[in-house]
Subunit: 338 residues, 2 copies
């Protein structure tokens, strides 16, 4: 503080000047950088349903995790789209909260909560969006990977959504949850490339853990492919990334949204080249075939899409660029419009 | 409220139950839709400078305002990009706040403040971003149209930024501000197509009005094309949309940003077809030539761009699709990263 500022401060402290008389001058000379980001939620109406995208965070993934395209071509493409940094690409982790007017439904729960890392921030953004975890009636899981189901627990390892029932596809539950699941997965060859054999047992254990308090409370349910899970919400088989990976078709007053889970992990690469997959896929061929089929349908039907690993908020449309090459058109930020 | 809920409420009101005992149950049964949008700011670091995009709002513009392309083709293109609604397209109005560490610099001020319409909300988002208008040291104007300079006044018609100096290009000031400006504009043929002759005098009066309190306080300055206005901020001639329309090149620690003003009004149409202009342009040919030149440079130099009418936050990169056709790649939402 300069001498003149000290004198002014003294004058204010002694009551000769109002304290606020100091503030504009100080602020004017050097406003400190605020350095906070806008909260990670984005909202739109889907018919009578309110849909809120929630940002759990991001991962910097190694470009080499993408397969079915030469490594150099993948790096070039990522760099051209301004998404290559030290050999890695930034991938968002999103979840979606649907308020149907009678039920509050969360689709996927993000990463384990309370981390100070780049992900695990869903709870912060859920609250910023005006909701409390106790209000959630149902959590629908696209699949059981840790960045989708890990967030079911709070930092104390208890149920973060104590009043919610958890829903997952029966195929997904049958793959991950039985006692002998790891052995059966090896026998079927359904081990993602990114997973080393010695990690298998612990991965299967870790996958089951977030469900434990909900199972203990009798709050875990499974659904069949294409089943109507709740009014206005139906499952869609989207197998490949995991054996029971599912999307959700949401519909209200004829407005439709397909929440497609992990159909795309790199928007920069996979819309243009749907044959490219990621090493976390359980079944390469099925994952690619499912992506191609869903992209084709999304473009043809002009479906509104929400994707867990698309650039936040991850909501938008798919258009064809001819053949099997597509482009992603994100929704444009605006106030909530009807 | 159901009978059992009324009984519970009565029990709580009479002190038999704590009031909060009602809340989770009520919320769980039917969480009300929140219906608010995430605040309209987005922040990133540019070297040591903090850059905050501020959302003033949006306009629904008539597709017929776009020229140099058949009306049907424009509508088709807008519809293909999911941006045609009742013959109109949604266009954002953005401004950018730069905290250099020693100066707080606002680039453009949006629409007249305090409206309850679709635009004029810059002040709300400035505050949400953690700043007060009294902290702003300088306002740089890309040009004097009302959606860029109108926000200089508060709802009482006084200076919203009482401690700021206002900067604009000398060419722009010379076009709009002299007593005989309207007459001279007619003589030079520089009347935007959207402006009817009888509106001219009032448009020129309206354009001068937001500057009045700043002029009275001796706080209006002009700059030349290419002039260094403040440390790290230089003007760039981008004439055509208005006679003195300017961009600003911002640089800190070798990181660069070009804030290009009104080079593009419809991202859906004009990146792919830079020959298309908008009826607010003063000089069609010059506006098109400037857009083509700046798009070419932006793609070649991989410049980070900020645009006042690009989808909020309006920050991203331009890539070429071959020839004079380009594509817009918006930055991806993330926490502030170095």
């Amino acid at each position: 503080m300069s001498i003149s500022a000290r004198l002014l401060f003294l004058a204010a402290a002694l009551g000769f000047l109002p304290v606020y008389s100091l503030l504009p001058a100080a602020a004017r000379a050097e406003a400190p950088q605020v350095n906070t980001q806008a909260p990670g939620f984005y909202r739109l109406m889907l018919g009578a349903f309110e849909v809120t995208a929630l940002y759990d965070g991001y991962f910097d993934l190694d470009a080499n995790l993408l397969y079915n395209m030469p490594s150099e071509a993948i790096r070039s493409r990522l760099a051209e789209r301004f998404n290559l940094r030290d050999g890695k690409f930034q991938t968002a982790v999103n979840a979606y909260l649907i308020n149907t007017g009678t039920k509050l439904v969360l689709v996927d729960a993000g990463n384990p909560s309370g981390s100070d890392g780049s992900a695990g921030h869903l709870l912060v953004h859920l609250k910023a969006a005006g909701y409390a975890p106790e209000q959630v009636d149902a959590v629908l899981l696209t699949h059981l990977h840790g960045d989708h189901a890990g967030g079911l627990l709070n930092v104390a390892g208890k149920a973060l959504f104590p009043n919610a029932t958890i829903y997952m596809s029966k195929t997904e539950a049958d793959f991950w949850l039985p006692e002998d699941a790891a052995k059966r997965a090896i026998a079927r060859g359904l081990i993602p490339k990114a997973m080393r054999a010695e990690q298998l047992a612990s991965v299967f254990r870790a996958t089951k853990a977030p469900l434990a308090p909900y199972e203990a409370a009798g709050r875990v349910k499974t659904f069949e492919d294409g089943e109507r899970i709740l009014p206005g919400i139906r499952s869609l088989a989207a197998h490949g990334h995991t054996p029971g990976h599912a999307g959700f078709e949401v519909e209200s007053n004829k407005a439709k949204l397909l929440i497609w889970g992990d159909i795309v992990h790199s928007a920069a690469v996979q819309f243009a080249q749907p044959a490219v997959g990621i090493a976390f896929d359980s079944d390469d061929k099925q994952a690619v075939a499912t992506r191609k089929a869903i992209l084709k349908r999304a473009a043809r039907e002009k479906l509104l899409i929400a994707g867990m690993h698309l650039p936040f908020p991850g909501i938008g449309h798919v258009v064809t660029n001819g053949g099997e090459s597509y482009e992603w058109i994100p929704v444009e930020y605006s106030p909530i419009r009807e």
